[in-house]
């Protein structure tokens, strides 16, 4: 019997603010151990938290992008558990009155688009880092570093709306794109800037009640999420079909070995003893703040992609790809504004992305060398049939490394373009004369031979002719010969 999986995600987004959530320490990554700490984030006696406005603003922006309701008055709470990387042995988070509630993230799944509903988005502080026990003299010790303690996080909790691991992967890809798009996080899962835990249960299809869920942790890549969930669904299915019952548990997924480890079962469940953080009075985000954040919000990726489809006639897929990064979409649109949108899309997706990939560049690196106007200029030549495609690609490659406009580059590389009829007609004549067979076939109605003839002319031109122009000249000349014949 096939079971249906029910999955809910809990995502943590590490914000890219300058300072930490509740103190003025750098929130940067990679500093020497315990060098980005102060009395507050080290949990020293007497230290008090003060909330970072930029972190709250990031939560408001994400909430608005997701269509969540922004609470005018929200409350920080303390969540208690003892762990060496928790400086105060409680975490300042939000509990029953979070900043953002509801909303949905629209996700493309193949040809369809679906909104996955959210329960909440709230702000909280990150923990420090503790390391696996290691040998130290005659005993074992664990090392602890508090640089990460207090770095701002947003926690996003979804409804249990997912049925397939692939849906979760698509959701995370979309979420990562969104937080980058909004400029609130770098969203790199490998660096822990985007983290994901999943709640999983299975049930017979058609059964409305949920089964017992397990919590899957340590999912540190999007592929890992997909594989870990698949492994856990398979495990639960084996247990249930074998006549067993699922026990509430927390599992760690080891992506390297595709293995699950059960960490904790219900009898050790925590009692977090949440209560309102008395050191932080009510957090008020008033209408003016929300209005300003809304006004400042960029056009969202899915809206922009839809506009690209409508305005430039791009296929859904292409529009989605161009809206993968805000800078890419901006660049595309700047090119499209000066030339044909479809041609611009093809060039940005192939030539520009190829350069980024080959050279390991950011879009900014590339656009600094080939600004949108320079690329548009090139594409206008292509459009006017003044440059053959392969040559245009060559010109683009020169553009990346050299200054100068199209003509200057052609001159510098001693390339002349045979684009005038006067240049091409002798070549067309020669090709027709040299290949009477295909000409006869064409004239007999087998027009497919035209492609062969175009190829011959292109060869004679040394690749410098524009195929469309050659094709038209050939057709005109053949027409002449037909009537003459």
């Amino acid at each position: 019997m096939a079971y249906e999986a029910v999955i809910g995600l809990e995502c943590h987004i590490q914000l890219n603010t300058r300072s930490k959530m509740f103190c003025g320490c750098p929130a940067e990554f990679g500093a020497a151990a315990n060098s980005n700490v102060c009395p507050v984030c080290l949990g020293l006696p007497g230290a008090l938290p003060v909330t970072n406005r930029a972190a709250v603003d990031a939560a408001v922006r994400l909430g608005l992008a997701l269509g969540s309701a922004i609470r005018g008055e929200s409350v920080f709470a303390r969540k208690h558990y003892f762990y060496p990387d928790m400086p105060k042995n409680y975490q300042i988070t939000q509990y029953d009155r979070p900043l953002c509630e509801g909303g949905a993230l629209p996700v493309r799944l193949g040809e369809t688009r679906r909104g996955f509903d959210l329960i909440r988005v709230h702000a909280e502080e990150d923990t420090g880092k503790s390391f696996h026990p290691e040998r130290h003299g005659d005993r074992q010790v664990s090392r602890v570093d508090f640089n990460r303690a207090g770095v701002p996080l947003l926690e996003l909790v979804t409804q249990p709306d997912f049925r397939e691991p692939a849906e979760c992967a698509a959701f995370l890809t979309t979420l990562r794109r969104l937080v980058r798009w909004l400029g609130i996080s770098d969203g790199d899962m490998e660096k822990g800037q985007l983290r994901c835990d999943a709640n999983v249960s299975i049930r017979p299809p058609g059964q409305p009640a949920f089964g017992t869920k397990t919590e899957l942790k340590n999912l540190n890549s999007i592929k890992g999420v997909e594989k870990g969930l698949a492994a856990e669904i398979a495990r639960q299915t084996r247990v249930v079909t074998g006549g067993g019952t699922i026990e509430q548990a927390t599992l760690l997924y080891d992506a390297d070995h595709d293995k699950l480890a059960i960490m904790r079962t219900k009898e050790h469940a925590h009692d977090y003893r949440y209560f309102p953080e008395p050191d932080l009075p009510l957090l008020r985000v008033d209408q003016a703040w929300v209005a300003a954040a809304r006004a400042d919000l960029p056009e969202l990726p899915w809206d922009r992609a839809a506009r690209f489809v409508a305005r430039y006639g791009l296929p859904d897929y292409d529009a989605g790809l161009l809206c993968d990064q805000r800078e890419l979409a901006d660049y595309y649109e700047a090119v499209a504004a000066r030339t044909d949108g479809k041609l611009a899309s093809n060039w940005v997706m192939t030539e520009v992305l190829r350069v980024l990939k080959e050279r390991g560049w950011s879009l900014a690196d590339c656009s600094a060398r080939v600004p949108a106007a320079r690329l548009a200029d090139l594409l206008e030549r292509v459009l006017a049939r003044a440059l053959p495609g392969p040559l245009a690609k060559q010109v683009f490659a020169w553009m990346v490394d050299e200054p100068g406009d199209v003509d200057a580059l052609l001159a510098r590389h001693a390339v002349s373009v045979r684009s005038s009829d006067a240049d091409l007609i002798p070549l067309v004549q020669a090709a027709l004369d040299e290949h009477p067979g295909p000409v006869a076939q064409y004239l007999a109605g087998k027009t497919a031979t035209l492609g062969f003839l175009v190829g011959q002319v292109m060869k004679k031109s040394g690749g410098q002719a524009v195929p469309q122009a050659v094709k038209e000249l050939l057709e005109a000349e053949l027409k002449k010969r037909a009537s003459a014949g």
């Binding site: 102060c38 503790s130 090392r143 508090f146």
Partner: protein, 99 residues
């Protein structure tokens, strides 16, 4: 009594305290005395009284800037019972799971 011996053990574990077996009974009695006393709040009319959890003011927010309170690793570790190479050292963490 509001609190039984088992409750004492349970909350002691949550609070990471160890109550010697011979003292559990007494602690249960002392805590119960306070809780029974607190039950007097049941006589107070609390209609329309929302909970007051914190000061009736709004939290001022901090600009996203660095400040001068940062410590060097040496200062951070100066009071640590055990530290080395910029890290705090603790006995092995066996519950290798951070909730």
């Amino acid at each position: 009594m509001s609190i039984q011996r088992d409750d004492v053990q349970k909350i002691a574990e949550l609070a990471r305290l160890e109550i010697p077996a011979e003292r559990v009974e007494r602690v249960a009695r002392e805590l119960s005395a306070v809780l029974d006393y607190a039950a007097s709040l049941g006589q107070l009319d609390l209609t329309g009284c929302e909970p007051t959890a914190f000061a009736p003011v709004l939290a001022p927010l901090r600009a996203d800037a660095l400040d001068g309170r940062r410590l060097t690793p040496e200062q951070a570790l100066a009071q640590a019972p055990e530290g080395e190479g910029g890290f705090f050292l603790v006995p092995p963490i066996v519950e290798n799971l951070n909730p």
